[in-house]
């Protein structure tokens, strides 16, 4: 069974946004306003997750996984030496990756919404900014997945499964 790590909201927000990003890509230039609807749904999940980062369960909180520059650099040094410790929640690098992904998705949603307002509709620079942010998300995803696979192998646990079941092997 293992110990509970990722609460249901964390998991639903994670997979909801993952499906939403794929859906946003799929809905490009399609009729029916799907791109916008998906964008609003993703934005709602991001907002919910942001609040949950302050009031959620232990490992959902930013205070649990956002580490300073020094602690993150120290972790990276141990990792390069092949001696990094296992974390039940995010490790320091994983925490920054999570933040980077959430921030890029949030900024993509925000610029997309701006484009729907009369003030900003049709402006080329905003469309290009929205696209650049979307590509940033697309570039971060393989790095995120690589981190998950690497850490899973290092600590002999299935982190993908943990994000589905919410559970991990107990221990430090």
């Amino acid at each position: 069974m293992g110990t509970k790590v990722w609460d249901p909201l964390v998991r639903v927000a994670h997979w909801g946004v993952a499906v939403g990003v794929a859906g946003a890509w799929w809905s490009l230039d399609r009729a029916g306003g799907w791109h916008e609807k998906i964008g609003y749904a993703v934005a709602a999940l991001v907002a919910l997750r942001l609040v949950w980062g302050f009031v959620g369960s232990r490992h959902a909180r930013f205070s649990d996984f956002v580490k300073g520059w020094r602690a993150t650099a120290d972790y990276l040094r141990r990792l390069l030496a092949g001696a990094e410790e296992r974390h039940i929640g995010h490790n320091p690098l994983g925490g920054w990756m999570a933040l980077a992904l959430w921030a890029a998705v949030a900024a993509t949603c925000f610029t997309g919404w701006l484009y729907t307002t009369d003030e900003f509709f049709g402006l080329a620079w905003l469309e290009q900014t929205h696209q650049a942010l979307a590509w940033t998300v697309v570039a971060l995803v393989p790095l995120h997945v690589a981190g998950v696979v690497f850490t899973s192998l290092r600590h002999r646990e299935n982190l993908l499964l943990a994000m589905l079941t919410g559970r991990k092997r107990p221990g430090a």
Partner: protein
């Protein structure tokens, strides 16, 4: 099958079931007209502005000129025009 799995399955189904919808990604204007015969984007912009449009952006998309802006009635518009005849080919409905 827990809550997460149900939500993922639901989302995938919702996306797949709308896959048959029309898309302006398929719009095409004049694949056979050589680019040399196209009239400049600026000419289209001036023509529309003379009719009372406010043009925000003109770009080339699938052998069309795609215009973003506000039409003579002040309504938001995304319209594809033939790059030689300047005929309206497709108007994307604005919600």
């Amino acid at each position: 099958m827990n809550l997460t799995h149900s939500l993922i399955a639901g989302a995938i189904f919702a996306l797949a079931s709308t896959a048959a919808l029309a898309q302006h990604g398929n719009v095409t204007c004049t694949p056979d007209t050589p680019k040399a015969e196209w009239r400049p984007q600026m000419e289209l912009q001036r023509t529309l502005e003379a009719r009372g449009w406010k043009v925000r952006q003109v770009k080339t998309y699938n052998n069309c000129y795609e215009v973003y802006g506000f039409d003579e009635k002040g309504a938001r518009a995304e319209v594809f025009f033939h790059p030689k005849s300047f005929e309206k080919v497709l108007e994307v409905p604005q919600g």
